[in-house]
Symmetry: D2
Subunit: 397 residues, 4 copies
């Protein structure tokens, strides 16, 4: 009999859907010793929460997320609310003995993230786990990249070049919560740089030591105010009323840095890179080989093997769908029967269930400890942009 893990999900937006789908699908695709149970979903409006529960097959819904912390059926609380709510929710849930999985960025501020990290440390002593949804780690191509580096296939790393480019933040997009500093903490920076900082750390196994010369920019300073509950990420085009409000987050934040192992790294996050809709990209150049990944072609890893005969060296487009060789994919479809965005979440659920049933995850899961390091880099980059100076990571604790 598999152990069951009761899930209490907070939030019914884009990420709520992505997580509900993953928790619902994980035991269909993966054979595991633990089984997720979609127990409760917590939302703001009763009707919405109820409809969400119906659609995604949760046992019940609530508008009082705290009620889940007393509910014996719930083992894990999954937080997908706006960023400023991550800390209070995660900390209370951990205190109640629930495992926590929290959307990224970990928090809107370094202080929040630190409290969360501390709460997780404390809870960890009692066997309680806390993770952040850096879902891209479980793109098979990214997980495989991590494994290749670990096997030494890149050798000494010279360059890390990471970009997360989107383009939905044009002037026609209204003032969603993602443009409100108090709720979001930051704009493209926390939303997108968080992902590529985590990815750079995850794939290289290396850490930044210094951040330099960040530029932060809000290109679109005023945005239309729309009424009604949280317009979806792509839904901004409707409903201007003439009223506008000030965007209080960055549209882009770009920075550079140095890594412990000697690599020079560049990072760029933007919502105004017209033509790039979800271009979460990284290239790593090493002495023995190079890697390239672009989420817009998520099943593919490009690999340059610098140890081949010169005449045979090239950018090798590996379709990471070989069930014998590439992580996670044996649980889905045959070779080149591509998987999509949502499967990264499903695979993350499978690793969470593995850990909760006493096994090891296939590749490392992003713990709060881990995510806090990423949050420190985010903070250092913001400092660098605002104080117009290089910032050593040792300054940011």
């Amino acid at each position: 009999m598999p152990k069951t893990v009761g899930i209490g999900l907070i939030g019914t937006g884009f990420m709520g859907r992505a997580h509900a789908n993953a928790w619902g699908g994980v035991n269909r695709f993966f054979s595991l010793r633990a089984k997720s149970v979609l127990d409760t979903v917590a939302g703001i409006e009763e009707a919405d929460a109820d409809a969400f529960a119906q659609r995604w097959c949760f046992g019940r819904s609530t508008t009082d997320w705290r009620s889940m912390l007393d509910d014996e059926r719930i083992d894990l609380v999954d937080v997908t609310t706006p960023n400023h709510m991550h800390a209070p929710m995660a900390i209370e849930a951990l205190a109640s003995g629930r495992h926590v999985t929290c959307e990224k960025p970990m928090a809107g501020t370094l202080e929040d993230a630190r409290s969360m990290r501390d709460a997780a440390r404390k809870a960890g002593r009692k066997g309680v786990h806390a993770w952040v949804w850096f879902n891209y780690r479980r793109c098979p191509a990214v997980a495989f990249a991590h494994q290749l580096v670990k096997r030494g296939r890149l050798g000494r790393i010279f360059h890390v070049r990471a970009q997360y480019l989107q383009d939905w933040g044009g002037p026609e997009t209204p003032l969603l919560w993602r443009f409100v500093g108090k709720e979001a903490g930051s704009g493209a920076h926390g939303d997108l740089n968080a992902h590529i900082i985590d990815m750079a750390r995850f794939v290289t196994g290396d850490e930044l030591t210094e951040v330099t010369g960040a530029i932060e920019e809000t290109f679109i300073k005023e945005r239309a105010i729309v009424d009604g509950p949280g317009a979806a990420i792509s839904g901004g085009r409707a409903g201007r009323r003439g009223r506008t409000g000030r965007s209080t987050v960055d549209d882009c934040l770009t920075f550079m840095g140095r890594m412990k192992g000697g690599a020079v790294a560049t990072f760029e996050a933007t919502r105004l890179a017209t033509g790039n809709q979800n271009a979460n990209k990284i290239e790593i150049n090493g002495e023995r080989g190079s890697l390239r990944f672009d989420f817009e072609r998520m099943n593919v890893l490009e690999w340059w093997d610098n140890t081949l005969d010169p005449g045979l060296r090239g950018w090798n487009r590996i379709m990471c769908t070989d069930s014998e060789a590439h992580p996670y994919v044996a649980n889905y479809w045959p070779a080149a029967h591509l998987i999509g965005y949502e499967h990264c979440f499903t695979s993350m659920c499978s690793d969470i269930l593995r850990v909760l049933s006493g096994r090891k995850s296939v590749v490392p899961l992003p713990t709060f400890e881990d995510a806090y390091v990423t949050q420190r880099v985010l903070h250092a980059a913001t400092l660098s942009a605002r104080e117009r100076r290089p910032v050593k990571m040792s300054e940011v604790r």
Copy 2:
């Protein structure tokens, strides 16, 4: 209250999984007036069928598929067995008043397909539906291609160039049922050409009038015999025993033809195109524009607009994930948060549920009538190969 549609699935292999996943997911992603209910799954071995039912959340399992035809809870029978079983199962199910959805190719022989078509005609008079799983029609890129042609964006069509290239049929792959003529009817031909013939017809809206010069080849004539129930499509590498048997299907079948509208068309299906794992490709060249699709990059449609300024003409890589413009995608994730193979099935389920609740499908569904035309082309191509001559479609009734 949405109408419910009880599903009886026959088969627990690769396609059984794909359909179970789709029927299970459709009402999560789509808002519809009808709701699928995963009622019963029928398998060969009780333990397997039961495990499948558990995993994919069916209400029950059986080893007697016929029992489903007396079960009031079942409204639709979904056939995913080897090809020679399609006709008997579909025909009996239709006769019992169940809607039928049948895997492709429609049948292993033209005779079987004709009986199925006739049965569907008869059942159709009583409001019973019958469809074949030409799932690729519902890749958003393919459905969008269909719409572009319908809007006249290609003008007069000169060329259709369709290839379905796979490479899992190397000498190391054992004698699966797919290599046994009695069960499969044909090899790459029925398996892969069926898809691209349907796709060519679906996208162009045109029909072949003649097939010429087909070549049929079995490159690997002997294959290892492995024991045990149907090794999965990708599972062939294990378990040689020294014993071998004769492959009695084609490894590739390639042919050319002419279409009513004047286009010259080429088709190629093979399981030995090393390096092409699931390259289901089509290119269509018209006077006003051209289209290209390759399933290995399934979210993308390449479009050449020949009416643009010469300096601005080029192959336009359209990411078919715009929720306002591309079919089906609004039900999944935001722009460029890619979807995968399985979503074509889910979207097909959504159109089936639309039709069963009295609405229109977003793009045409492949009926038995429709699939029979495709089967006639398959047959004409086989005739052409074996009799070494051009075959007019009017010869094949």
Copy 3:
């Protein structure tokens, strides 16, 4: 002191320019024992020929090409006229003791080609050489593909898939000589299939044994008549006068075949593949590896090494500009400082000068003997199209 080779060029059109440029540049890029001397260019109109001679630095011009056959300074006659003139010119030039290089297709008819082959055999006994300008053999990527196959890197070959797609033959293009059967012999077939038949033979080292099911089509049956001397290949858009004439060549010819080594091969040539401007493409699938080439990315060879670890297999985009590994490129520019169309001609000149000074060519040169085999395939394909039947190569002598 290098030996000099006096060049007499016939023709001042597109190919005249390409050859003049190559003969003029070869000794700048290559270090050779022989040196080309641009002696005479023969044209139709005196003024044109003279201007051409000035521009391309020929010693003199003439309107009487036969006069070159008595000229001691001329060692090699280079024929770039319309196809029906190839035979008389080449045969006379060979009889006069001149080496001949002739544009492709070798001839407009098999009979012409046979006479040329016979003339070359006879001349060959006196040490006189005759070659056809299958220039694409000397794209470094194609030459390297030839070498890889020769080294056994593909193993048993299953498929050859060759296409030469252009799109300049739309209804707006006037009745150039290339559309006049008497001058051109054929349309896309001789112009484009000739190239890819040669390329398939050159890269695989294998020969066709049978041609099946060819389709020949003239989509645009009437074209505008324009006055004046031979409009350039791309120049057709100007100058309609209302008068039209019948196009007497094919716009496309597509066929299939079998090769001695067991491969199934497909060939397609067309001038109406909208969006493909010079897509001279080939893909070869073997048991140990596969190759892909597309002239529209001429510096690149795609290579799939099927002997690698499954996880590392992929399409490897090799930039064939490594001076140590790839043929010819050491004579041009550093790595990835790309070369262009014209360099294939220059490299072919270098191999011709090597042979004329007693050395071996880097990869085999296309002799008249060789080109005659290609012409036989062209002829067999035409027969197959017109007689609607398979044609064995042994029928065509």
Copy 4:
């Protein structure tokens, strides 16, 4: 009668060859009122210079470059020596009344560049011209990008993302002059950033106002010493002797900046980006459209038209070889008969000859005035890296 322009070329290395080829070819491809005459080449060793003159058809050679300044036959002095020689040579040549074309970077130091700019201003009053070989401006794709921006097709520009990535600078490459600070001034920075700064300025028509957070790194600190005259750029692998010397230039320099029009710009130059051999890349994101260029596919410009219907927007791969629409290409070959690296130089020669015969260049030529602005950006980036601070362009005069 066309006016003649006598060329005196200094330097016989990689760039000497590229320029000799271009000056020799320009009047073959282009119809112009002026004609270049390859008069004299100046080298270091007499034998080398003589062989170079023979091969590239110069009238004579010399080892005394100054002698050319008294030679009536020479109208233009072309400087291709190591960077520290640019200033003395260019300044003396200008003073002698010769037009000057100088390789990039303009100079090794800002001071040198300033003297050159001043000398050019002075000479300019007498009708003498001075240009720097920013050859990539005349890739047809880049020149076309410039024209598209000028026509307003990008609208407000948000991002400029420029990278020039090479990989020949691995530890096996010896201590060429390019690694010696005294001769080269800088490493990847002057060699590669110079190109992309110029390209960014040329395409956008905008200027940097500030440079931030540059990182400069010498990954390979010791390199083998080889004897003999300047090993070619790609020739470093031979001849270690055990002795090593210190590399005194950067291997990479990466920086960010802001532009007058509000764009955020990033620049990266490196010789250690394994797998990138000549990846001179730029992407520009505007409100109305975006552009992408990568020299490794030099005939292509990628263009995203944000004013199209959402469903039809995509990255449009324009093959910039349309003789009616794309600059320069009508002078070479038909559509998609690709041109190569060298043609950018040839096209630049054509524009130089146009200007020297009183006409306008097709797109703007990079004057010394222009190149000095680029040199100021190089200097600001170096300052930023060394002083670890943002540098306003107004600080660098």
